[in-house]
């Protein structure tokens, strides 16, 4: 075995750790954030995720992956979970769980869809629905680290009420060196709405995204159809493939 083989074989195992729900935040009718206390939690980087494992009273277990929404600097770990009606773990996390409940988490996982202030920018964030969670970790990290890298968030939600973290995003955007936030609502727009009113497409990105000539680091997260469309549009606009990182969830319908 060469040295690198040994180093790889010796990588420490990620431990399951007990997480206790400290607080529940209702974000939208379908989405909740769980603020967790996880003793011994190792530092994560913005964009990483965790595996969550639930154990029923009879020992049955189920596990799923969720993106981390909190900044690495935050004292507690926050997961933001959308309820999938025929799901197994998300209905529990997004409906049943309350302060004091306990389950297990393991992580942090994933080292590619990651941004740290030291990487610099500009930062181009594109989200659909609960795909905002790992991007919010990046924006929160940017704020805590007092980073002033030019940043744009383009965020697609179904309706105004479905916008996750709306007030926090408003507050961030109001700061002089805060990110620029562009919302688009695909199903219904309130009266006087000045944001986008359709799915994210090439024309929208040409108008509101950071120009390819500025070589932004793009992070795209959301349902597969949105990610495919946004990534394809970015390529067509001249962004380079290796500056576009994606996280997809949901079925393709195939």
């Amino acid at each position: 075995m060469r040295e690198t083989d040994t180093a790889l074989a010796d990588r420490p195992r990620l431990q399951w750790r007990t997480a206790e729900v400290v607080r529940v935040i209702d974000e939208t009718p379908r989405v909740r954030s769980l603020v967790l206390s996880v003793p011994g939690w190792p530092a994560h980087r913005a964009g990483q995720h965790v595996d969550v494992r639930l154990t029923a009273a009879d020992g049955y277990q189920a596990q799923r992956s969720y993106s981390i929404a909190s900044a690495p600097e935050a004292p507690q770990l926050t997961l933001t979970v959308e309820r999938i009606d025929d799901g197994e773990v998300s209905p529990y996390l997004a409906t049943e769980a309350r302060a004091g409940d306990r389950f297990e988490v393991r992580g942090p996982i994933g080292g590619y869809f990651v941004w740290t202030a030291a990487l610099g920018g500009p930062l181009l964030l594109i989200a659909g629905g609960s795909g905002i969670a790992p991007l919010m970790a990046m924006l929160r990290h940017r704020a805590v680290a007092a980073s002033d890298v030019p940043s744009v968030l383009i965020y697609s939600s179904r309706t105004f009420a479905d916008i996750i973290y709306r007030e926090e995003l408003d507050r961030m955007a109001a700061l002089s060196d805060g990110p620029r936030v562009f919302h688009t609502l695909t199903r219904q727009q309130p009266a006087g709405w000045s944001g986008g009113a359709r799915r994210i497409d090439r024309e929208m990105l040409a108008e509101v995204a950071i120009a390819p000539g500025r070589h932004p680091r793009a992070f795209v997260c959301g349902p597969t159809s949105l990610v495919e469309q946004a990534a394809r549009s970015l390529l067509a606009l001249g962004h380079t493939a290796n500056r576009i990182k994606t996280e997809r969830f949901g079925p393709t319908g195939a």
Binding site: R13, L14, R64, D101, I109, G111, T224, L234, T252
Partner: protein, 206 residues
């Protein structure tokens, strides 16, 4: 080891008993086919596609799309297991087994014990050669009887279903034999070097 904490009020959805022995630990059944990729989906004209076998710097075999399509085809029905915890049963694939590729290239013994798969978009993954032979793996070009869609790895992906599905590299273009095992893309980022779902080898150290 300490007992895991009970998640108060959690019941869960139990898999049908018939499927139980086909679902590895920590996995659940899905009927969808989720898409997971680290970057944009590459688009490629079939005329510019080729697949190559390589050892060190030497080219052992190379096929254009039409040449590849003319090779003996194999169909399999297999269960697949994604490290993100979904499993899908009875998926049907068609393609050319690695055994067939070696045979057609006139290679009786694999030159080296490990393989690195290289893909459009820069993705790589490592697999021991023993896990690619004896009908265990193929370069698949059809899923459920139809040409594979780009999101799912078309025109061609590796299919090595007894390992976690990140090993079944999408948009695969080149199989390179190597002397020592090396981590590919996800394996360098904390995922397990080998990835056996039945031993729940998700991450480094598992």
């Amino acid at each position: 080891m300490q007992d895991p904490p009970i998640a108060r009020g959690f019941r869960g959805k139990r898999p049908p008993p018939t499927a139980n022995d086909r679902i590895p630990p920590g996995q659940h059944l899905t009927h969808d086919f989720p898409v997971l990729s680290a970057g944009p989906t590459p688009t490629l004209r079939l005329e510019s596609w080729s697949f190559a076998l390589q050892a060190g710097g030497a080219l052992l075999g190379k096929w254009s799309w039409s040449e590849f399509e003319a090779l003996p085809q194999t169909q399999v029905k297999v269960d697949i297991h994604c490290v993100t915890t979904w499993s899908k049963l009875d998926t049907t694939w068609q393609g050319v087994t690695i055994d067939t590729l070696l045979e057609v290239a006139g290679i009786s013994e694999p030159p080296q014990p490990y393989a690195m798969l290289h893909c459009d978009g820069g993705y790589t993954t490592n697999v021991p050669v023993a896990d690619l032979l004896a009908g265990k793996a193929m370069i698949a070009t059809r899923y459920e009887g139809k040409p594979m869609s780009p999101e799912h790895g078309g025109p061609a992906r590796l299919l090595v279903p007894h390992l976690y599905f990140w090993k079944s590299a999408k948009w695969v273009r080149r199989l390179r034999f190597i002397e020592h095992d090396e981590p590919g893309f996800w394996e360098s980022l904390g995922y397990h070097l080998y990835g056996d779902p039945w031993r729940e080898q998700r991450y480094a150290g598992d």
